[in-house]
Symmetry: C2
Subunit: 299 residues, 2 copies
Amino acid sequence: MRIGIIGGGSTGLLYAYYLNQTFSVTIYTRTTLQAEKINAEGLFLKKGEQLSNLFVKAVPFDNWKGKEEITIVTVKQYQLENVLLKLQNKDIKGSTFLFLQNGMGHIKHLDKLSAKNILVGSIEHGAYRNSPNMVTHNGEGVTRVAIFRGQQEFLNDFVDAVPSSFPIVIEPDYYEMLVRKLIVNAVINPMTAILRIQNGELINNPHYYEIFQNVFSEIIEILNLKNKDDYFNNLIQVCEKTAQNRSSMLKDLESNRETEVDAILGFLLAKAEKDHIHSPLIRTFYQLIKGKEWEGING
Amino acid sequence: MRIGIIGGGSTGLLYAYYLNQTFSVTIYTRTTLQAEKINAEGLFLKKGEQLSNLFVKAVPFDNWKGKEEITIVTVKQYQLENVLLKLQNKDIKGSTFLFLQNGMGHIKHLDKLSAKNILVGSIEHGAYRNSPNMVTHNGEGVTRVAIFRGQQEFLNDFVDAVPSSFPIVIEPDYYEMLVRKLIVNAVINPMTAILRIQNGELINNPHYYEIFQNVFSEIIEILNLKNKDDYFNNLIQVCEKTAQNRSSMLKDLESNRETEVDAILGFLLAKAEKDHIHSPLIRTFYQLIKGKEWEGING
């Protein structure tokens, strides 16, 4: 089976490396330069002390035809619009798409796609891109995948064919899965990024923990969720498990990169506004992060 | 006329240096060591490139008798309780006290004092303490003073006798004066301390400016103030005039010192709670600062 991977960031490279072991992968990159480098030198994966290399076909995304059976879209939420425009102009009725974005901003666009099967996923790996053709896999995890539209059998076959070193777990309810991840990202990322702290500090420091709970409560109200305790316990567990980690948003700000705040807090704010829900803390953290991004550009 | 100055921090040293030029000043320090150093070497003032030195009498606060005609209390709000306990045990009926604390937390204690004249002041100087007997005067300003209780004539005489290089301006309404300063401190200090930015960024960065306005609105509601525009214009003016400055709270956090957040946001929160006013941003910035202080102690 052929798999196309759109996006040559850390997630795209990581998926290309692992999935190429059991599938025929083509990775579609934004720049011609990156595609040339991958085609010439292959793709490198660093894991602990070990550096591995394999050949993966790379093609600039401009030349994407959408002929693979499965296409995995790994670009960030804020780059998704360009990709979706291109998807709408292709005949993709017979194919399967898996979207791996953080947040939930992408969900509203998926109904417009003509693809037979649409899957959404949530990544629990830690990875960062060292260079255009090298990725470090520094946190082993799973990919959770759920059906947005389409057939269960297809998903089962896909999951069975994935290498065991890179497991995919099927989740029954895509909305529940994405909400769970969204809550984790919406509470942990902005606070740790503004305070420049490791994830565990949010629950160890009694002052931060009060804000943490208040932000969580605003999210529960915006999303009108019933099983509040389940989501809270999951959030605490993630903080405990990743206590020593520095969040992606903190790293983004430190590197003067655009963050995913629009996909995360921006999504929540838009929903709050639509439903006339007052959410002062979400609004404040959104502006604190946007202000830091603005500093990075104008400072 | 004899003046006693309680507190050997930057404000205490600054006032001792200038007022000793026209009054007979005794400075009361927390430690015996600081008093000994001042008595042995004199007090140094640094201003621009110039370093000046003069002798001022210094006595440990434990030996304070309260015999001076005017006593200026320069300790921080969070050190005030100890000083007030001592004041209540002395015969101070005939004397005058000037309180120079930030915030408004001290006002509720002043009614209990037996002193004939009680003044409150608001400092617009920039100063920092280089060593136990050296202070740098790096921002020329005025001291605004208003009567909390007592005679106008006495204040006029005092102001006339102050050296012209260290002016005191009489304000008609102590509450209005302190509120004005409180608003400035409550909006500028916590935001700049958490974001690690200069004061001017708060009005230049459109994202920070939104939060700035929201924090201001919560304060206006808590203090139930009518002339909102006057206070806002004053706040903006201070931001513009001190655009390149880093706030005292930012410096306190960077130096792992306790901040004045309790006197500033803590005072507002207590009032909000008493009056059942919801003030989520003030509460959040209070906890952000307390969390940073907690990091400094436990981190």
